[in-house]
């Protein structure tokens, strides 16, 4: 149920349609009678509109992928005349809200809607757009777009399949057919005034709510805070190769920076904050640990802990694990940017989520949320607006299974807090980095140089691969500077992950990089298994590898197809690749029951066994079909003159920078670094297969494209071998369980996902849900390189460079 102000507008809208009379105060004019007499034209009028529904080309999250598939060969929305996805809202008829609506994105969506000409329609696609979906309980997700805009058709599903979206389109057509020219609201006075754009304050607010907020401000209650539950057992990692390595590192460090800089804790080194930079310097230069993979933080009752996982590219193998204790009252530690550039975004994320400041960071500001947001959401004493309980399942929903949506009872949420002296009427959202350029900024800019303009590319833009936003400073068409802005799809993944029970997180990982559900499952499963000490049965291991490698093929092909589209080819390669990807999705659907959100892995195995049909189909696919498709792609695309001209030598990422920036996966390997987690630190049964790690040395767009093609070929080989050797036996260790207790401890597990190294960092206090749950996302870290690579190139190149990074926003923003 929308809140009252919106409800009024929506109802007024509906009234028009039902009664045909405008309420008092809305002037209709003498045209009204004329229009009424035109009702004989209804048939024609409606036929025209329903046969030509052009969607606005914008996607928010995972659902957008299915929306794109709807346009592809198998489903072909073009049959309905609706394939003309318009990039400009001015030319679109329907807004398909395809995905999670976050608070940070809502203002943009409302703005886009306001820019669309009447008659306009809204389809809410998927659980998120309809009612908040799986991420609804978090602090940055809006529970349904109908809180802000009138929705015509709801399409259920998570994600709805393309056929479901087509059904939604037909429903909209049916609705249009029932309308009358004399009664439709949009030609009347007073209707086309825009919907008010929500404002990002300490929390989001609707300008219409200002009186209520005012009232609330005076009687603001303290939020229901309880100090975080202390972890029951002191986290200590299970014996691992890390212990050995840590000993060596400690030995080395004693010789270089001295024994007083750190403490050896068995599997981790606890570093003195002030010596952190020295320690890392010495580890990088003297010990060869040059790849800072993961930076995150944990909130313990007595301290914050910032943790670092550092790898060695040359040596491979396990990580060195550093911890820094930070004072809760004055959380400041030195930034590591001068040693590892990969710390850039990750430190900002820690600041954003936990409020730990990094001295010396050149650009320390919020990265996923917006400037002005009140509080640091991953602190244990911070509560989201509709906070119910520390742990799921919430008592209000279980075991009865009935609940009332919290926002219906209380549209504010008890925990929304406004800072002292905050006034909604005069509030202007800080412009810093997150919002469209303000006039003052622009005029300041023109003082410097009149020739330069700032262009905001995104968050709604045809080639930002979702809701990504780049602020680009242009001199003519040349990029002088670029700043990536993200967080428009920040779905409070980690916070929800800490409320969820351990196994409940499995389907959530599907929605990280929604093109590689299986791979994400894999990473989470092996991380938790590290803590649980599970033994995965042979057959399950093989199935896992088959699924993960099929995912890699699908993801790499998709990346190649869309890269070519980004370069301006009109979706032809993407369409052909889409067909191959559908074949792989069929296999997933056959086994896991879903095309994208597979939720297939379990701790100690997989959920369902694969059938003989699967084996036959998969064998045919990898032996016959895929080789042909890849060869075709190669023949028609790779050698194309324009493709070569647009990709060779553009966006070069030199080897050392690639490592220092923490680039991972194909991006790293295209820059001449032969590093693949499957070989460097083999997990599962990857050491049994015969495959190579392709590496290229150009570091440009072309090499990133080409390395993906080569990798897809290797994955194909792995699947072939795995299908051949697949043993029988059980697929799960022990009996299926719904809830798991995980022994206390902490673990960092990583897999080579198609986008790069996907890491999970979990801390367990022995309870039924994770104490800390962090995702090291390759797309997010890879983006650190974007600005460096883009400078000096043309706008068109930047689009290509971004395409070659192959980001997925679900994983960037989490």
């Amino acid at each position: 149920m929308p809140n009252k102000a919106v409800r009024d507008v929506v109802e007024r809208y509906d009234d028009y349609i039902e009664q045909g009379d405008a309420p008092e105060g809305v002037w209709v004019g003498p045209w009204n009678n004329l229009i009424k007499s035109l009702d004989s034209l209804n048939g024609l009028y409606n036929w025209g509109r329903k046969s030509s529904i052009w969607p606005l080309g914008f996607g928010l999250a995972c659902c957008a992928i299915e929306m794109i598939c709807t346009g592809f060969a198998r489903f072909d929305i073009a049959r309905f005349g609706a394939e003309l996805f318009r990039a400009s809202p001015r030319q679109a008829d329907v807004m398909i809200v395809s995905g999670t609506v976050t608070k940070k994105m809502v203002p943009q969506i409302v703005r886009l809607y306001n820019q669309m000409p009447e008659p306009r329609y809204v389809i809410a696609m998927g659980a998120c757009a309809t009612g908040g979906g799986p991420f609804k309980e978090g602090y940055n997700v809006v529970s349904g777009i109908d809180k802000y805009l009138p929705v015509d058709v709801y399409v259920p599903g998570c994600p709805p399949t393309p056929s479901a979206l087509l059904q939604g389109l037909m429903t909209l057509q049916a609705k249009i057919e029932g309308q009358k020219l004399s009664e439709v609201p949009w030609y009347r006075a007073g209707v086309s005034e825009g919907f008010p754009v929500p404002v990002l304050g300490p929390d989001i607010f609707d300008p219409r709510q200002i009186p209520v907020i005012d009232a609330r401000l005076s009687e603001q209650e303290e939020p229901t805070t309880k100090a975080g539950k202390p972890p029951k057992a002191k986290p200590a990692e299970l014996p691992a190769p890390e212990v050995e390595l840590t000993k060596l590192a400690a030995e080395f460090l004693r010789g270089t920076v001295g024994a007083d800089a750190f403490r050896d804790e068995g599997n981790a080194l606890i570093v003195e904050p002030l010596r952190l930079v020295d320690v890392c310097h010495s580890l990088r230069n003297g010990f060869g640990f040059d790849y800072l993979s993961n930076v995150t933080s944990v909130d313990y009752p007595d301290r914050f802990e910032v943790v670092y996982h550092i790898y060695s590219i040359a040596k491979g193998g396990a990580h060195i694990y550093l911890k820094v204790h930070v004072d809760r009252d004055d959380p400041v530690i030195p930034s590591l940017i001068s040693v590892y550039r990969s710390a850039d975004f990750q430190e900002r994320e820690v600041y954003d989520m936990m409020g730990i400041r990094f001295a010396g960071h050149p650009n320390l500001k919020r990265i996923l949320l917006w400037e002005g947001f009140e509080g640091f959401p991953l602190r244990k004493d911070w509560k989201e607006a509709y906070y119910e309980q520390e742990q799921k399942p919430f008592d209000s929903r279980w075991p009865e299974g009935y609940h009332v949506a919290a926002e219906d009872r209380n549209i504010w949420g008890k925990n929304v807090r406004y800072p002292q002296g905050w006034d909604p009427k005069t509030w202007k959202a800080p412009t810093d980095g997150t919002l469209v350029l303000q006039p003052e900024e622009l005029s300041a800019l023109s003082d410097i140089d009149t020739d330069k303009i700032i262009l905001n590319i995104g968050p709604q833009h045809p080639s930002t691969h979702g809701v990504f936003h780049m602020r680009v400073l242009l001199d003519g068409e040349t990029v002088v500077d670029l700043e990536p802005v993200m967080g428009y799809l920040h779905r409070n993944h980690e916070q929800i992950g800490e409320r969820n029970a351990w196994l409940m997180n499995m389907p959530f990982t599907d929605r990280l990089d929604y093109l590689t559900g299986m791979g994400n499952n894999f990473g989470y499963a092996i991380t938790v298994e590290k803590l649980m000490g599970s033994k995965v049965p042979e057959r399950a291991e093989y199935i896992r590898v088959i699924m993960a490698e099929l995912t890699r093929i699908a993801s790499h092909l998709w990346a190649a197809g869309f890269l070519i589209s980004d370069l301006g080819a009109f979706f032809t390669p993407a369409n052909y690749i889409g067909e191959e990807r559908e074949m792989i999705l069929d296999l997933f659907e056959m086994t896991a029951g879903s095309r994208m959100m597979v939720n297939y892995f379990r701790f100690g195995g997989v959920a369902y066994d694969i059938s003989d049909t699967f084996i036959a189909a998969a064998t045919h696919l990898v032996k016959e079909r895929l080789p042909r498709a890849m060869e075709e792609l190669d023949r028609y695309v790779t050698a194309n003159e324009i493709v070569q001209a647009r990709t060779k030598g553009i966006g070069v990422l030199p080897r050392d920078e690639a490592i220092n920036y923490g680039a991972a996966g194909p991006v790293l390997r295209a820059s001449g670094v032969q590093y693949d987690v499957r070989k460097a630190e083999p997990y599962s049964i990857y050491d049994r297969f015969d495959f190579e790690v392709p590496v290229l040395y150009g570091g440009d767009i072309f090499d990133r494209y080409w390395v993906r093609m080569l990798e897809a070929e290797q994955s194909r080989r792995i699947v072939e071998q795995a299908l051949r050797d697949l043993p029988g036996g059980p697929i799960l260790e022990g009996a299926p369980r719904w809830s798991t207790r995980v022994p206390a401890g902490e673990a960092y597990g990583r897999v080579e996902n198609p986008k790069g190294e996907l890491g999970f960092y979990v801390v367990s206090d022995g309870g039924s849900n994770p104490y800390r749950y962090h995702v090291r996302s390759p797309s997010f870290v890879n983006l650190t390189t974007l600005a460096e690579m883009s400078k000096g190139h043309k706008v068109a190149d930047v689009i290509g460079i971004l395409g070659s990074l192959d980001i997925v926003l679900g994983e960037v923003d989490r």
Binding site: G48, R86, V795
Partner: protein
């Protein structure tokens, strides 16, 4: 000029108008179906039999769309721009000879609107005028994407028009006339100029894609970079006008190319059965249009600066060489010249 003459001209104007507008509508459908086929899809097939009424539905819908003028736009120019784009394109259709002279109601009616003695020049001139509308659209919308699109359009047009004009000059030299009708007549008996001007034809074919801003030269509206380029802020019918201009320009330029290089409406038996003339021209136009769509489905876009390089550093010199060679050949074919040599 008698009244019947005037009626005749009016009828012809209306007919050309009608043909072009229908052509525009069905060219959109043609494009969508061909694109779909090239992408192993089906394309619009539900609206009317086989999707045949799709353009009608699109038109109807656009007609009823709300007409938005952005608050910060320069109103006058914003309204003027679509008109300024469409008018030159429609005008340029006047010089295309659609067929030979036919006999109807005892009158002999030439199937062209105007046989201007500077036809080729007129066509090139109008092409340059068309770009004003685009620049205006980009400028007046008060949108950065539109502005960049407009700027791209202007520089692109300038650099490609030059090469196009020089390429066309080769034909003019061969036929000795700027009149389109004369050019067609000079290609009687299968002596199409494409055989004598293969390089010129290639240059013309490339520049005509750039001139109509079609892929891979569609930089002014490059969707992946500039959202919708110069028409980002246009909605409803005004937006449709830009498409109208683009598609009609495609038809007209195809007709011109066919006239200059493929003998226009000429073909076997056209002397005996003049009505075959328009049919031949239609087929030749379709070949070009298919190539337009095919290109769009197949090629990524050129980058802006490379586009300029291709225009100025490759096409222009080639066109000049073509011109010089043609000139020497034309003079050389003159027996007097040989006579002098042999002297």
């Amino acid at each position: 000029m008698t009244t019947t003459d005037i009626i005749e001209v009016l009828v012809k104007i209306v007919a050309v108008f009608f043909i072009l507008l229908t052509g525009f509508a069905y060219l959109t459908l043609f494009e969508r179906r061909v694109l779909a086929a090239l992408q192993s899809r089906i394309g619009p097939n539900r609206v009317g039999p086989g999707g045949f009424l799709q353009p009608v539905a699109d038109g109807l819908k656009l007609l009823f769309k709300e007409d938005i003028i952005p608050a910060k736009a320069d109103k006058f120019l914003y309204l003027l721009a679509p008109v300024a784009v469409v008018v030159p394109v429609l005008l340029s259709a006047a010089i295309v000879p659609w067929g030979p002279t036919i006999q109807l109601f005892g009158r002999s009616i030439p199937l062209h609107l105007a046989d201007i003695n500077i036809g080729v020049l007129f066509f090139l001139g109008l092409g340059s005028l068309g770009v004003y509308g685009i620049v205006l659209a980009g400028w007046s919308s008060n949108n950065k994407y539109a502005l960049i699109g407009g700027l791209r359009a202007s520089s692109q047009m300038i650099s490609y028009e030059l090469a196009m004009g020089l390429a066309a000059l080769g034909v003019v030299m061969l036929s000795g006339s700027l009149s389109m009708v004369d050019i067609v007549n000079a290609q009687a008996n299968g002596r199409w100029f494409i055989f004598m001007q293969p390089l010129g034809f290639m240059i013309f074919a490339i520049t005509m894609v750039a001139e109509t801003k079609r892929a891979p030269f569609d930089l002014p509206e490059a969707e992946q970079e500039l959202v919708a380029g110069f028409h980002t802020e246009y909605s409803g019918m005004k937006f449709a006008m830009f498409y109208l201009a683009e598609y009609i320009a495609m038809i007209v330029i195809s007709a011109v190319a066919a006239t200059l290089y493929l003998g226009g409406w000429r073909g076997p038996f056209v002397e005996q059965l003049p009505i075959l003339g328009p049919l031949y021209l239609f087929l030749k136009i379709m070949v070009f249009l298919f190539i337009f769509v095919w290109l769009r489905a197949s090629f990524p876009r050129l980058r802006y600066d490379r586009l300029m390089t291709v225009g100025w550093k490759i096409l222009l010199p080639l066109a000049l060489i073509n011109l010089v060679v043609t000139a020497i050949a034309v003079v050389g074919a003159d027996t007097k010249f040989f006579g002098l040599l042999g002297g």
